[in-house]
């Protein structure tokens, strides 16, 4: 039973750690499917995490925190949109600027407001998210196999966890079953044809970045008001880039993105719980290897040695109407 408990603990932690990745990954999915490269996921999450923590501290409500986080992330998403859609600037450079701006502003503002070297005060009570117990979790606990899975693994998470996992089928439905989704994907593959059909490429891309901004906002709020109890300097710690890696790993598809984020969340859980894994007493897998594995896997996938990842065709290219 001890073994089973260990597995449950690891799986539970994987789910918790995959949430921010998943939301950011879906943000990247909408943005890149519409043809806008988004390496600013990291920065958008970071600024959202800060404003979510600050707003929940000031108002005492975690839900207002999410709102503030989304507003901050949306503002950054619009900076990216103005630069890369309206002014047809380099989307990568704009993304780099967004990341830098977030790392700088969060500390400058945080230090000016709270004088704690960029940290926000610790959140408690209503300014954080509660664990939600799913119905009947207590009763089902004693049923041997499915019981613990339901009551330990699926129940007892924060609200945002369920929002994130509900966002996956929703994203799939929007992208593949609605007119909006078809147009969005078309804008990322062949903007000229969408333009010919009388649909504004600029408008579609702006809408994609609005969605991306909101999703990154929720992701950031999760980090500072649910996973942790407050904002810490650089607390996203490269998660935006892991989300980007997961997006490539999933070949820009929503269900696969969930799988990739769970896998990368699992790798993070492993490196947290079991830093150095000894394999049958033969050799030790260092913690650094487990940490680098998402990036290594992404490079392997990108290189096309295992199932080639082909990005949306028009991704990264500004659309110029008249040629």
């Amino acid at each position: 039973m001890d073994m089973l408990l260990q597995i449950m603990l690891t799986m539970d932690m994987s789910i918790r750690l995959s949430v921010a990745l998943l939301l950011a990954c879906l943000a990247g999915l909408f943005s890149e499917r519409a043809g806008v490269v988004d390496i600013g996921l990291e920065g958008k999450m970071l600024i959202a995490a800060f404003f979510a923590a600050a707003a929940s501290f000031e108002t005492g409500s975690a839900w207002l925190g999410i709102l503030a986080g989304c507003a901050a992330s949306l503002t950054f998403s619009m900076i990216h949109a103005v630069a890369s859609i309206t002014y047809r600037g380099n989307q990568l450079i704009s993304g780099v600027a967004v990341n830098f701006l977030a790392s700088g502003l969060t500390v400058v503002i945080g230090n000016a407001w709270y004088k704690k070297g960029g940290q926000t005060p610790t959140l408690s009570g209503d300014s954080r998210f509660y664990d939600i117990t799913l119905p009947f979790a207590d009763y089902l606990q004693n049923i041997p196999m499915p019981g613990p899975i339901y009551s330990e693994l699926l129940s007892g998470h924060k609200a945002i966890v369920y929002i994130a996992y509900a966002a996956v089928p929703l994203a799939w439905w929007v992208l593949y079953r609605t007119r909006f989704g078809l147009r969005l994907r078309a804008v990322g593959e062949n903007p000229a044809s969408v333009d010919t059909a009388g649909i504004s490429v600029v408008k579609m891309r702006y809408l994609a970045l609005v969605i991306a901004g909101i999703l990154c906002g929720i992701a950031g709020a999760y980090l500072s008001t649910a996973q942790a109890a407050g904002f810490g300097k650089e607390m996203t710690a490269g998660r935006g880039f892991i989300a980007l890696a997961a997006l490539i790993f999933a070949k820009w598809r929503p269900w696969q993105a969930m799988g990739a984020c769970l896998l990368f969340g699992f790798l993070e859980a492993i490196s947290n719980l079991y830093p150095n894994i000894n394999v049958f007493g033969l050799f030790t897998i260092p913690v650094q290897f487990t940490q680098a594995l998402p990036y290594i896997l992404t490079v392997v996938i990108l290189a096309g040695f295992v199932g080639k990842a082909i990005p949306p065709k028009a991704v990264g290219e500004p659309y110029v109407k008249e040629r």
């Binding site: 900076i79 380099n90 700088g104 260092p286 680098a292 990036y295 290594i296 490079v299 990108l302 290189a303």
Partner: protein, 365 residues
């Protein structure tokens, strides 16, 4: 016919971008209730007000020159190398291995060997993404980002394992032999009767960076290879049609880029810390992007931009004492705004100016 006169293109547009960036940064300072002019005064005073300040400014500028040149050569071949950070880190391993291998008698012998070590390791780290871009079509931006993280993990692993100094609790290597000590500005200038701060880490690598800038200019505008790189960057199809090999140009440009980034380690690892410390690049690889954009990928522009960013960095540290309400991360905000306005929002300034110049020309004729 050009839309704008040359001076407007290379001086006026970047200048307006810079003014806009500083204007927005000033608004941020105002928003947190501080005086932006006080901040500029203390930053300039901190960066240039003493020989110690100047020494630190030029030391940081040296890093930014290497990183900026590395980004620029890739830009010329129309590639965006975000991997300078990782390439510099791996370059540090090369420098360390060379300097720990032999008990070096004198720096004049140790320096060339360390340069080769740093450059080869940095280039090797850039070679894999370059190969994957040229042969397998995987986008160089994504692979170099991934390689930054892999490099950080590798560096952490080595410095907690085989490269770790048994004498230290921290993740750092053994100190280098005394013969590998690079002359500092103080040691060079003292015999000439110039008193320069002893504490400033400015060393002979500064001259090496200037030499590299000159070398890159020679390469790009005075050699056949440089012509091929620029032609490829301007128009890939036309260049291929003219018989220039895409694979060759991609890989060579990235090798040079990685080598330049790797040489950043000479300044920090060999010149300053005299041992390998985890995370020694401290984001200089990313600042290189801003430097290359600001300097319009021209070596001379990069030297100037690196000096500006060196001043910003050192001035930012000085704020810690003079205006504690403003954190040193304000420098990051300024850098971000410079990247945003000169890099991504360039058309916002350029297009209205172009229209203005065309209208003026019409009015004249």
């Amino acid at each position: 016919m050009d839309k704008m006169p040359r001076w407007a293109d290379i001086i006026l547009v970047p200048f307006i971008n810079l003014v806009l960036a500083f204007f927005v940064a000033g608004l941020v300072v105002l928003a947190i209730g501080q005086n932006p002019f006080d901040m500029i005064y203390f930053m300039i005073k901190g960066a240039l007000g003493s020989t110690s300040g100047i020494g630190f400014t030029l030391y940081y500028a040296t890093n930014y020159m290497f990183a900026g040149l590395a980004v620029a050569i890739a830009f010329h071949a129309r590639m965006f190398n975000i991997g300078g950070e990782g390439q510099a880190g791996i370059g540090g391993i090369g420098v360390t291995l060379v300097l720990l291998a032999v008990d070096w008698p004198h720096w004049t012998i140790a320096l060339p060997a360390a340069i080769i070590g740093g450059a080869i390791f940095g280039a090797a780290w850039a070679a894999i993404p370059a190969y994957l871009q040229a042969k397998r079509g995987s986008h160089i931006v994504v692979t170099t980002i991934m390689f930054n993280f892999i490099a950080a993990a590798l560096l952490g692993y080595l410095l907690n394992g085989i490269l770790k100094s048994p004498l230290s609790q921290n993740a750092e290597s053994l100190g280098f032999p005394p013969g590998a000590h690079l002359p500092t500005a103080h040691e060079v200038l003292a015999p000439l009767g110039i008193a320069f701060s002893k504490s400033a880490p400015l060393n002979i690598s500064f001259l090496l960076a200037l030499f590299c800038a000159w070398g890159l200019w020679m390469l790009l505008w005075r050699t056949r290879l440089g012509y091929e790189i620029r032609a490829f960057g301007h128009n890939e199809k036309a260049a291929t049609y003219a018989g220039i090999s895409a694979v060759r140009v991609t890989i060579i440009a990235m090798l040079i880029s990685g080598a330049l980034a790797g040489m950043l380690a000479i300044n920090v690892v060999m010149g300053e810390q005299e041992r390998l410390i985890a995370g020694f690049v401290e984001g200089a690889g990313f600042v290189g992007i801003a430097v290359a954009l600001m300097g319009r990928s021209h070596p001379f522009g990069i030297v100037l931009a690196a000096l500006l960013f060196g001043m910003l960095t050192q001035g930012g540290f000085e704020l810690l004492w003079e205006m504690p309400a403003i954190s040193k991360e304000m420098v990051l905000v300024i850098q971000a705004l410079i990247i945003l306005f000169t890099g991504a929002l360039d058309n916002m300034v350029r297009e209205p100016l172009e229209r203005l110049f065309i209208r003026m020309r019409k009015a004249q004729s």
